[in-house]
């Protein structure tokens, strides 16, 4: 009897001891090594969207290799939203409620980001978009700060993108090539509404009269009538706003030998795989972007591009790869400044105080009382983006002058006055 009792007693002690040791161990594990989970929601099969999660993974690996954030590793949990707002929202909810991430980096498509934004407010989940552009994203934060403060806009708003393109047009197209007129050609999407508004305002001020304004359905596959309509007006240049489409208008522009240069924003053209995707038809196309291979916006730009190319089969990141990479570092930095706390309100406070030199410039966010609350600060000394032109399979930076590493050259079928030297 007593033997059995003592055996039971022993096993109870051992069991209790194991449990306590386990608890003790897990307690220390919690303090020392529990990973910081960051959700990344992106369009994996889109040309521009594929860079987002890859660049985030790269940043996480680098930070973890250096010891993580105060000893804690960063874990990237990636979701594919298939370019669909409803899939994006579902992923957002899952990331927040099930996978318990501390912040979400999400989407380059404004429609998707705008759909996820209210959930950032409802679930009090810090949410930063690395590539969407619509002014609406930061407008909501400005208009309802108390609820929407968890959203940050990690790329230039459409208004600033348009402004930078106007600045480029003024310096190069008008200044060097003496161009006088343009036609604005944009896809009909959420991000191009404020873009086109600013274009129509700032292009004339830059010296280019806007002869026509064309907004086409993003599902368009035959651009011949559009190019025809543009050519009939005889503009000196076409100012684009395209992201959802890219391959087809570019290839058709080239195959039909439309004699008018294209500049503006073509998101797909910001990644090096675009040369192959268009069979080289993108020669001579100019687009705004975050950075270009070989161009050192900051000391971090070139090493990041090289590391990305090494990891991902020689392809360089699209514009949202640069931002996504910087944003993981910024989030890590914010958590570090909070002494490891990932409380949403503390995260917001820390993020607002961001002053970080990343791969594309100096990151600061506008404040509560600025027009574009929580958007990226635009301007010299902060982030302006660059304009690049495709030449012989390479992206050549052509603006601003401080980082330009080549001269503007157009294909033979494009009719321009020779640049004034």
């Amino acid at each position: 009897m007593s033997k059995g009792k003592s055996r039971r007693g022993m096993s109870t002690v051992i069991a209790t001891g194991t449990v306590m040791a386990g608890l003790g161990l897990s307690a220390t594990a919690h303090a020392a090594g529990e990973p910081i989970k960051i959700g990344v929601i992106s369009e994996e099969s889109a040309v521009a969207g594929a860079s987002i999660s890859k660049a985030a993974q790269l940043a996480a690996e680098e930070i973890n290799a250096k010891g993580g954030v105060d000893g804690r590793q960063i874990q990237i949990i990636a979701y594919d939203d298939h370019s669909s707002a409803s899939d994006g929202v579902r992923a957002f909810q899952r990331a927040a409620s099930q996978d318990k991430v501390v912040a979400i980096i999400g989407s380059y498509i404004s429609e998707v980001a705008l759909a996820m934004e209210p959930w950032s407010a409802r679930l009090k989940m810090p949410f930063i978009t690395p590539g969407a552009a619509s002014n609406e994203i930061s407008k909501r934060v400005h208009d309802d700060y108390a609820n929407y403060k968890y959203t940050f806009h990690g790329w230039m708003t459409s208004a600033f993108i348009a402004q930078s393109i106007c600045d480029f047009s003024h310096d190069v197209l008008v200044g060097e090539f003496k161009m006088k007129t343009t036609v604005v050609m944009s896809e009909d999407a959420a991000w191009t509404k404020p873009l086109d508004e600013r274009y129509l305002e700032c292009l004339p001020k830059a010296g280019l009269k806007v002869l026509d304004h064309i907004r086409f359905n993003p599902d368009t596959s035959d651009f011949t009538p559009i190019f025809n309509q543009i050519e009939a007006k005889h503009p000196d240049t076409i100012t684009t706003g395209i992201s959802h489409v890219g391959v087809q208008p570019t290839v058709q522009w080239h195959d039909q030998q439309v004699p008018i240069p294209m500049s503006g924003q073509s998101s797909q053209a910001t990644t090096t795989s675009f040369w192959k995707d268009t069979n080289g038809a993108t020669e001579g196309v100019i687009t705004a972007s975050a950075a270009a291979p070989g161009v050192a916006m900051t000391p971090k730009t070139v090493p990041f591009v090289e590391s990305y190319q090494k990891h991902f089969a020689g392809v360089s990141p699209a514009y949202d790869g640069f931002t996504s990479y910087d944003l993981v570092y910024i989030l890590a930095d914010a958590i570090h400044r909070n002494q490891g706390s990932t409380d949403p309100d503390k995260m917001v406070d820390a993020l607002e105080k961001t002053d970080y030199v990343g791969t594309i410039g100096r990151w600061q966010f506008y404040g509560k009382n600025d027009q574009f609350t929580h958007a990226l600060k635009y301007g010299e000394g902060y982030i302006t983006g660059i304009n690049l032109q495709w030449q012989n399979g390479k992206q050549v930076a052509i603006w601003p002058k401080s980082v330009a590493n080549g001269k503007v050259k157009f294909p033979a079928f494009v009719k321009v006055q020779a640049a004034a030297n």
Partner: protein, 291 residues
């Protein structure tokens, strides 16, 4: 200038539509199958042609015929693995076979679309034009490739006409579309006729797919639209009538082109759809339909 531009542009796109639609209507006329994976078959030809040209480094000239062959293989897979098993199945009552085949090909089309999107992503792909450069036709700038596409389409249509009307096998095909039972009574094996029809279909859809890739570009997202387009043209022209499809293809092609140029590119698909509704109301057998 603009009228000539519309004329030429409309001609090229209509020829391409015609090629796809004729294949579609052939299959329906001969074997009674409405192949809703039509877009998928064209897609496979286009995507694999592109992959062979670029990724496998074979270049456009070799990859184009290979792409057509891939289209043919896709058509065979559709016939042997989707259509025929359903048609031969003892478990499905005869009256319901057509619906099952329809649904089967629809699902198969979706599988192709998703499978290709998984392998190649949904980015549009383009094949290099076989003849680069542009020609000037009475002051209108036309890419050589566009002219070539129209020529190729008509050569193929011409060859098809010769085949159907001048060769024994072709005449058997025509007969099968009129009266399959009568044909079997004369000693022809229907299964070989069907095989012939699907082979022709594969070639037609394959050529259409590859040419579309070099003309406008193709993406997996276009799959449904390509099927819908062929379907509407074939209904318009009369299910089963090859010349009807040819006519309808030009009506639809020109309606679309005129709309895109003169009204708005956004409204391009609308008039053809409105016409389809009208025709189904007023003359459901289409222009030249028999059934």
């Amino acid at each position: 200038m603009l009228p000539l531009q519309i004329l030429i542009d409309g001609f090229a796109i209509s020829s391409l539509y015609a090629l796809g639609a004729i294949g579609f209507t052939l299959i329906f006329g001969v074997s009674g199958v409405l192949n809703l994976s039509h877009g998928g078959v064209m897609l496979i030809a286009a995507l694999l042609g592109w992959a062979l040209a670029g990724e496998a480094g074979l270049g456009t000239y070799i990859a184009t015929p290979l792409g057509v062959i891939c289209g043919m293989i896709a058509a065979f897979i559709t016939y042997f693995m989707v259509v025929r098993p359903i048609q031969n199945s003892a478990a499905i009552p005869r009256e319901e076979k057509e619906i099952f085949v329809l649904t089967g090909t629809l699902l198969w089309g979706i599988m192709i679309q998703q499978g290709m999107a998984y392998l190649f992503s949904d980015n549009p792909i383009t094949m290099r034009p076989l003849i680069p450069g542009v020609a000037s036709v009475a002051g209108v700038r036309v890419p050589y490739n566009e002219i070539m596409i129209a020529v190729v389409c008509w050569v193929v249509i011409g060859l098809l006409w010769l085949f159907v009307n001048r060769t024994k096998a072709g005449k058997a095909l025509l007969a099968a579309s009129m009266n399959p039972r009568g044909l079997t009574l004369l000693g022809f094996e229907l299964s070989r006729i069907y095989l012939l029809a699907w082979t022709l279909y594969g070639v037609l859809a394959g050529i259409a797919g590859v040419l579309l890739a070099s003309f406008l570009g193709v993406s997996t997202n276009n799959t449904g639209q390509l099927t819908a387009s062929a379907f509407s043209i074939v209904v318009l022209g009369g299910l089963g009538s090859v010349s009807g499809s040819l006519m309808a293809a030009y009506v639809v092609g020109y309606l679309e082109t005129v709309t895109a140029y003169l009204i708005a590119p956004t409204l391009r698909p609308l008039p053809a759809l409105l016409l389809l509704v009208l025709v189904v109301y007023v003359r459901p057998q289409g222009f030249l339909g028999r059934r």
